[in-house]
Amino acid sequence: MGQLTPDMIMVLVMIGLAIFLFIVEWVRVDVVAILMMVALPLLHLVTPKEAFVGLSSNAVVSIIAVIIIGAGLDKTGMINKLVKPVLAVAGNSTSRIIVAISFTVAIISSFMQNIGAAALFLPAIQRISKMQKIPLSRLLMPVGFSAILGGTITLVGCSPLILLNDLLLPFNLEPFGLFDVTPIGLALLVSGITCFVLLGRFILPQGECQGTEDNEAFCTIDGLEANEAEVNSHYELTTSEDFMDYRDPVRVEDLRRRYLVNVLALTEPPDFKTLSPSPETEIRAGVDLVVCGRQKDVERMALAEEMELKETIDCYSSEFDTSTSGTVEAVVSPRSPFAGLTLAEIRIQDRFRVTPLEIHRQEKTYRADIDSIALQTGDVIRFYGTWKRLKSLHREAGLLFSMPTDLEDMRPEKALWAGGWLVLSLVMIMGFDIQLSVALMTGALGMVITRVINIDEAYQAVDWRTIFLLAGLIPLGIATQKTGTAEWIAGSILSVIGDVSPIVLLTVIGILSTLFTLVISNVGATVLLVPLVVNMAIAANVDPRMAALVVGLATSNSFMLPTHQVNALYMGPGRYRTVDFIKAGSLISVVFLVVMIAMISLIYGI
């Protein structure tokens, strides 16, 4: 083992700083990566050229192309079209539905970002949950985990695997092919789904389904909103003729604040029917209004404000026809511009003329003062509005909706083109041995040229956070390797664990990668660990490619905490608690490690 040099100490400090910042999240992970990109050349730990080499790396270009291809597939509505045949195959059995959807999501996830596949499928799963009356909590976790596992089926399925070949370059190790990981990924997927099918009743929260008055069934976890009186419904009321006498003006906002009742429609003088009236609208005497709220709150309001509560929706029956307006559950996606803002800051009602009804976060439902809640990824907001207005909200807000398919802005006529370009990319990689980035960018360009997606949409689709995270951490990997720090850490670890068999070493690497990926990003864990484990493997006479592969795969073993983007996204809609992830995720993580090591030893004979 070499001696610790000042440069190595500096690199160790920078690694420590990066890990610390990843954990405490004082700044966003991509900003940490950019900090490394700038600090390392300033400290003369890498050359300026090496500092920015990540931006032009094969991995970064491949990820950009994969994202554009994914966005193109999304635009064609192919994903929604998959739901019907998948359900036809699955029938009515919950287990079969879980298996069918999970496999479909995993296969899609193997060619696009995990979070992209998970987000695309969320509205479809919500629809399936309603149609088949299966609690969402029993569907989402298996499907979310499958989206993560699907990322291990091909080398372009997730960022760590895309990055792997670039990280092997300095060691002159043979790169992995697109489908080299497929048998292992498929085994991981099958084992994960099997766990849910066989043990789902023990490890998943057992929700229940309910139907609202407008026949929209929705499902909840045990005990949460199980009481019918807690369910929001629509009611029509009439204000008295002397409503405006002897009292301060009553506005739409007042009713929401006082009684947690949302006014969905209101007659304004002389006889205009307004849907989703603005919060400042004054409620006049002798007018009809439709509200949404819990029965006990509506009755309390009717009594206190001397309103007549009608038995059915009467004057507004045509406006409340399901073909005109409705209620949707919108999930705040990881890339939504609304994340971090409150509904008041977004001015949601002024801009889109829709009515936010409530916000669900994990197991909690917020009804009071929802305008002041800062939205988080995975939050579910229930909106009422006309389909036209909801469509405009859907287009601009980066929210994931369960909308009627004919209203979504899709280009189904381009489905063949999209599929064709994807296949061409794969043929180029497999049949002609063309570099991954070139082949995938060809597919992405093809989608733009054939107008599956326009170039602005393609630019917007790219998640720059991921790009800079990846590009910024690559120089840290270079510095770790160049200064001999990786070799030194590897030697130190080996001197502690002693002479161990290859399987034990790979298992230790797998556990280490799993732990790292739970607290720092999977990309960060891969960049830091690959140089390290390759050195360890060389020193211990184990195949270094296998050690790197274990890191690439095990950094997807992120099921125990809702820290993975997919878990964070599904947590709100599924009404999961952290303990639900710990329960199911612990089992899946152990199975993952066992199956991965078993498959690697079986296929590569270590």
Partner: protein, 270 residues
């Protein structure tokens, strides 16, 4: 009609003014009864509650939040007692304990130090030196208390609607001024201000129920809809959840109760 709070230093004739105002307006006078009721309700001795409202918090108080706990008990009781309005309160910190209510007429009665010393000497038969020392110490405790608990200076005139110095003005003059102010429209109770009193009372009652174990929780209430601002750790605490469930079931007037975690409580939270 309004709630009148009379804040006073010891021997400033504030008690006499309060009693005469109440008699003239036919209001109920509230002072020591508050401690008695709070003591009964929360099973804490009157002396402990008085000390909590009088003495500045020490190190032990800050560590164990005892001051905060007792003040929450007194505030919850006071809010319940003034709910009917037509009350003159001349106890400690009334203007601060009833902060946030619209129909409260906040009066401060002061007197020059020499006449206070004389009054003390007369009442307790002690020397001038001792009387002065006792009064100055008492004033100092009051200042420290309000600074440490509410971060304000009790001698800041902007905290009050009227400050009257009993010197050239007599007690009867002060009573006239106060009754005149009480009859102005600005201090009359309205449906909205009475609703606000009920809401504040509800928030204070919930605070009193939680404060011993979860002192950091901030509470707001509007039309019986309670919002509790807690840390993530508290929000997920089993005992906290259990307490909330029983409060929601047992406390009349609570229509909705939600917990917000990870966000700071608004300034008007109790």
């Amino acid at each position: 009609m309004p709630i009148i709070t009379i804040s006073r230093g010891s021997h400033s004739m504030g008690k006499a003014v309060a009693e005469k105002v109440a008699a003239k307006l036919r209001y109920y006078v509230l002072s020591r009864d508050l401690m008695l009721k709070a003591s009964d309700k929360f099973h804490v001795s009157q002396q402990t509650l008085l000390q909590a409202l009088h003495d500045a918090p020490g190190l032990k108080d800050r560590y164990k939040n005892t001051k905060q706990i007792y003040i929450a008990y007194v505030r919850a009781t006071l809010l319940e007692m003034v709910a009917e309005d037509n009350v003159v309160y001349h106890g400690l910190a009334g203007h601060l304990l009833l902060k946030g209510l619209d129909h409260v007429l906040k009066i401060r009665i002061i007197a020059n130090l020499e006449s206070r010393v004389m009054q003390k000497m007369r009442e307790e038969g002690i020397s001038q030196h001792d009387a002065r020392a006792v009064i100055l110490k008492d004033d100092d405790q009051r200042k420290k208390w309000t600074r440490k608990i509410y971060n304000v200076d009790p001698t800041d005139n902007t905290l009050y609607d009227m400050v009257i110095c009993i010197d050239k003005l007599s007690v009867d003059d002060a009573v006239e001024f106060i009754c005149g102010a009480a009859n102005t429209k600005s201090f009359h109770s309205t449906d909205a201000s009475l609703r606000k009193t009920q809401d504040l009372s509800l928030a204070c009652n919930v605070k009193a129920a939680l404060v011993a174990e979860f002192p950091e929780v901030g509470i707001t209430c509007e039309y019986g809809n309670l919002l509790l601002y807690a840390t993530e750790k508290t929000a997920h605490n089993g005992k906290f959840k259990k307490l909330l469930t029983s409060l929601q079931q047992d406390t009349p007037g609570i229509f909705n109760l939600e917990v917000r975690s990870g966000v700071p409580a608004p300034l008007d939270a109790v």
